[in-house]
Amino acid sequence: MEILGLLTDGVLVSLMPINIILILIGVTLGLFIGAMPGLGSVNGVAILLPITFLVPPGSAIIFLAAIYYGAMYGGAISSITLGIPGASTAVATTFDGRPLALSGRASLALVTAAIASFIGGTVSNVLFTIFAPLLATVALAFGPPEIFALMLLAFATFVGLGGDDIPKTILSICLGLVFAAVGFDEISGAPRLVFFDITGFLHGINFLVLAIGVYGIGEMIWTIESTRGEITTTEARMSLKGIITDSKEGMRRGWKGTAIGSFLGFFVGILPAAGATPGSLMSYGVAKLMAKNPKEFGKGHPGGVAAPEAANNSASTGAMLPMLTLGIPGSPTTAILLGGMVIWGLTPGPRLFTDQPEFVWGLIGSFYISNIFALIVNLAFIPLFIWMLRMPFTVLAPLIFVLSVVGGYAATQDMHDVWLMLGFGFGAFFLRKLDYPLAPAVLAIVLGPIAEPTLRQSLLLSSGDATIFFTRPIAGPITIIAIILILLPLFKLIAGKMRRAGTTQA
């Protein structure tokens, strides 16, 4: 019952005029960012974080969370009408959404996506409200070894479940962690990794410089280069009557997918670093597996739209759970939110619930409000969003570049960082072309300042004995899961080889 009281207070906080306006702008921007191919929630949050310094931290995070939320809804719009996912989180939505649109049922696909997103968001919000305070209470007992073990788990998730080239993923993680170490060694106070004695490196590499460089510049150039301006849209006629009949049909045929996506998405989202993309892909797979007639999937089944859409919304809320309670982001976007919280002077972690209840519960309350707003804005303005998708990228791209350069400067007010950001942008472009995943590096530069001190404190506690991470009751299991995840691709490789050897013998 206590939770209900806190939640009511939180909803009231998020209903304050400034917050409600920010939520409305946030979800609308998010819908647009999500719908625009080449822009996802992570790009939007990274590029727009610097301009949130205008409002108090509590409102700033509500705004950014609303963008995150809106983007999960928006991704479906371009997946269905363009056939290209608006964001990586909506890749699975194209599998059935595009065939539906091509057979003239774009409206059914869009309505199913919106309603499934809403249900996924609602289920995950309730789960979040129940689990967050519990997890925060448990996490209060965590010491340096437990926190370091969790960091290890976050990186291990990328290696084990990321699906990218393993050496490249590990390299990306290490690069981000080393960049985080530039500046001063916090423990001894000695300057460290000041490249070529350039004084600009003394204040370290701000995570935003890397995040904007990667997502605002590198990915943008990559998008411009790879799409080559060839995008065609499918018309979608919408009417109020059509929305009602479509939502009935969508729910009748897609309820199972929605249910699977809502729950599975949430739990995949909680896993450190996994986030909404694997959540939606896995939910699509499971929904297909459990369907009465799996062969209908991929040809335009509403269940195939509902499952990934419910899952990506659910996972985006799930990803906030470890961010708020443990101080460990559940996705690349929440990694940037976490970095923002540090800039705003808030220490992420379990103590936030006791020290800043208004902030935490205001944010949780805003999830419910954002979810309702996103549904309404989405359904009401689908034709407008489709119209905006025709906007030439040559108008949007320079605006994004200008925002990136100004944002990169505003974060530290040093031209050195703007140049560094451009360098990261070019580097990211080439690495992206060669299949190097870059999200792990961004996550790592945010987590580096937490991971390093906890490792060093843990080793000091144990006088240099690394078994401390295995013998403590909470840290032990987490470390072992992390190691299994890191070794998972290796097991798969060996199993695959043995199977192949088996078939050749037979």
Binding site: D165, L171, C174, L177, P398, V418, F429
Partner: protein, 167 residues
């Protein structure tokens, strides 16, 4: 792609070695009663990076990673042109900031991008490349009180005049 893959791995290997060497400026081992030294963390991480570049090179040799099998060039004519025009535009934008101020550079960059890369009409170009810097100016200087670079001295009278409006 195949050539780019091994060259990039080589560059990253050199970077790892440089980072390892740079880390040794601080103690990279365990100091009794003090815990691991300041160079410990970056040194060993760079070491792992070096191993990873080795594995990437090994995969390149065995042709198991997609870029090492690809016969496409890393950048074809279109790609090179895009990179030079867009990347060069950004480079010019940032270089101009210290000369004609952030806002002046923004105007030049927007005109360049909208008119010459986007081939939009002069009307649209003019509307956007004037309104965007104005919105940024109001947002940053007036609302957030964050001053963006004003460039060299000759822009001073102009900004002094604008400041009398917003303050």
């Amino acid at each position: 792609m195949r050539l780019a893959e091994i060259v990039t791995a080589g560059v990253l290997a050199l970077l790892s070695i440089y980072l390892m060497w740079k880390s040794t400026e601080l103690n990279v081992g365990y100091i009794p009663d003090e815990g691991p030294g300041g160079g410990f963390w970056p040194f060993w991480l760079s070491g792992i990076m070096l191993i990873c570049t080795g594995l990437i090179a090994f995969n390149w040799f065995r042709r198991t990673s997609p870029p090492s099998q690809s016969t496409d060039v890393l950048l074809d004519g279109y790609g090179k042109r895009t990179l030079v025009l867009v990347g060069g535009g950004l480079l010019g934008f940032i270089a101009l900031i210290n000369i004609i101020s952030m806002y002046g550079a923004m105007v030049v960059f927007l005109i360049y991008y909208l008119r010459f890369l986007g081939r939009h009409s002069w009307t649209l170009t003019a509307i956007l490349s004037i309104s965007i810097p104005v919105v940024f100016f109001i947002f940053f200087e007036a609302l957030m009180r964050i001053t963006l670079p004003k460039g060299m001295k000759f822009t001073e009278p102009f900004y002094n005049f604008l400041n009398t409006i917003i303050y």
